[in-house]
Amino acid sequence: MIKLSQVSKQYPNGHLALNKVSFDIPSGEMAFVLGHSGAGKSTLFKLITRMEKPTAGQIIVHDQNLSRMRSSKVPYLRREIGVIFQDHKLLLDRTVFDNVALPLIVIGMPNDEIRKRVRAALGKVGLSGYEKNLPLTLSGGEQQRVGIARAVINRPSILLADEPTGNLDDELSDEIIDIFADFNQVGVTVLIATHDLRQVNRLGSRTIRLEKGEIVQTEATE
């Protein structure tokens, strides 16, 4: 499903964020990406969603080689991948409803279907009744959950979560990670970048450990 071979990413300023990273996450698997700040976790996700291009190596997502993917095809790749961003990336002048609905609006889904789905997704992340709120009137954790609702709304086959529990207390973290686990149960491939070892231990999923852009250990802790 997501396969990296010898992937390196050097930013234009010369910083080598990833160095010869290889791993293969089969369809339907759930894995954690661990690593200190600056280890390259976000960079990894940017490569998978083609926000950045690798300077070396191959990335294959959904049997598609991203290096050879035409830029006109990139939107369709992104529709298959739900991403929870570390910095939320919400539209601050739009309501929660509009934010969550965006992935459905871009594919031209009918309005009543959108309303139904948004309500369901907000219910799932515990934000029922917040449709009309603006993101800045929400707490950090609530904003994070708006981002999660947006990521899952289009029922993507891959979920990438960059520090999804960074702002949440233990109880809420568990709930959120359980949501991801639920999606994983129905066949969604899930990749979570986190510092939260508690979750790794709780779920016992596979981990990919990055250190200064290199993989130091990948293991299936089962």
Binding site: S72, P75, L102, G108
Partner: protein, 304 residues
């Protein structure tokens, strides 16, 4: 299909909403477009008015026929009768040498000098007005040829030069206004394109996120194309408003002028098709500007 339509409507409304949120920039742009469009529209109306006027002159041209100097009054009367009965002649008037001299005196002011003429050198002449159906230049030339066969006629003068010259001026003005319109269209595309560019960069964040969740380029582009169209349409409407304001200002002097030419209406009135064409041109110019701007700037905005 319905979804597609409602989607477009939604984008249209949100575009209008966004225009409302930045009213000053929108109003400025629309005004600039309106004023810039006013010039070619004014030129067009002027040319059309001129053409109507010239058509009108062509409807009442004069043919002056001068008889030979040795023609007697009775001979002149015979010739006059023949001409008067010609099927394409509506009105004919016989001018005797005495009348002609009196008129010449009055017009020239050479009263004193003319006193020394013991003989009236002026011939009989006949002024002919052809009927409306034979008013075009080719008909007039034909009529001239027919009349010249009549015995006793010295020369026939057609008053075509004046209208021909006027028409030539109109043609040149039409060409000039075409060139001007093309240049103004280019200027407008630059102006609207720049406004769209500002809009694009104002909405940079939104564009990035839309691209991140799988929005295609054409989806991201759409509202900006609508912006361009709206600006163009509103600008065209403003120019039409300005035009009718200008016409209103000109009403009094034009009415006086119209009375001189015995016409009720001198200024050309735009028809519904012409108004539609002006509005559509506005839309097209706006759309092209947006297309151009979007092609240049949207690619630069990629999610980071």
């Amino acid at each position: 299909m319905l979804t597609y339509l409602s989607r477009h409507l939604q984008v249209i409304f949100s575009t209008l909403g966004a225009m409302q949120r930045t009213p000053m920039a929108s109003i400025n742009t629309v005004l600039i477009i309106g004023i810039a469009l006013l010039l070619p529209v004014c030129l067009y109306v002027t040319i059309k008015s001129g053409q109507a006027l010239s058509d009108n002159w062509q409807g009442r041209p004069q043919i002056s026929i001068f008889l030979r100097a040795d023609t007697s009054a009775s001979e002149a009367a015979l010739i006059f009768n023949e001409i008067r009965l010609h099927p394409s002649v509506q009105l004919a008037e016989l001018v005797t040498p005495q009348q002609a001299l009196a008129e010449f005196r009055a017009l020239s002011g050479l009263d004193y000098e003319l006193k020394f003429l013991d003989d009236n050198p002026l011939p009989h002449s006949i002024v002919v007005m052809p009927d409306a159906g034979h008013a075009r230049s080719e008909h007039l030339l034909e009529l001239q040829a027919q009349l010249s066969k009549i015995e006793g006629i010295e020369t026939i003068r057609l008053d075509l030069e004046w209208t021909d010259r006027f028409n030539a001026i109109l043609k040149a003005a039409a060409k000039l206004s075409l060139v001007l319109s093309a240049l103004l269209a280019v200027a407008l595309i630059l102006i609207i394109g720049n406004t769209i560019k500002l809009l694009i960069f104002n909405r940079r964040h939104e564009i990035e996120i839309t691209k991140l969740v799988g929005g295609t380029d054409s989806f991201v582009r759409r509202p900006f194309l609508y912006y361009g169209c709206f600006y163009g349409i509103l600008g065209a409407l403003v120019s039409l408003l300005l035009l009718s304001g200008t016409a209103h200002l000109l009403q009094q002097p034009m009415a006086e002028l119209a009375a001189l030419y015995q016409r009720s209406q001198l200024l050309y009135r735009l028809g519904i098709e012409e108004i539609a064409i002006i509005v559509l041109s506005g839309a097209f110019i706006g759309w092209s500007a947006a297309r151009w701007s979007v092609a240049r700037h949207l690619r630069q905005i990629q999610p980071r």
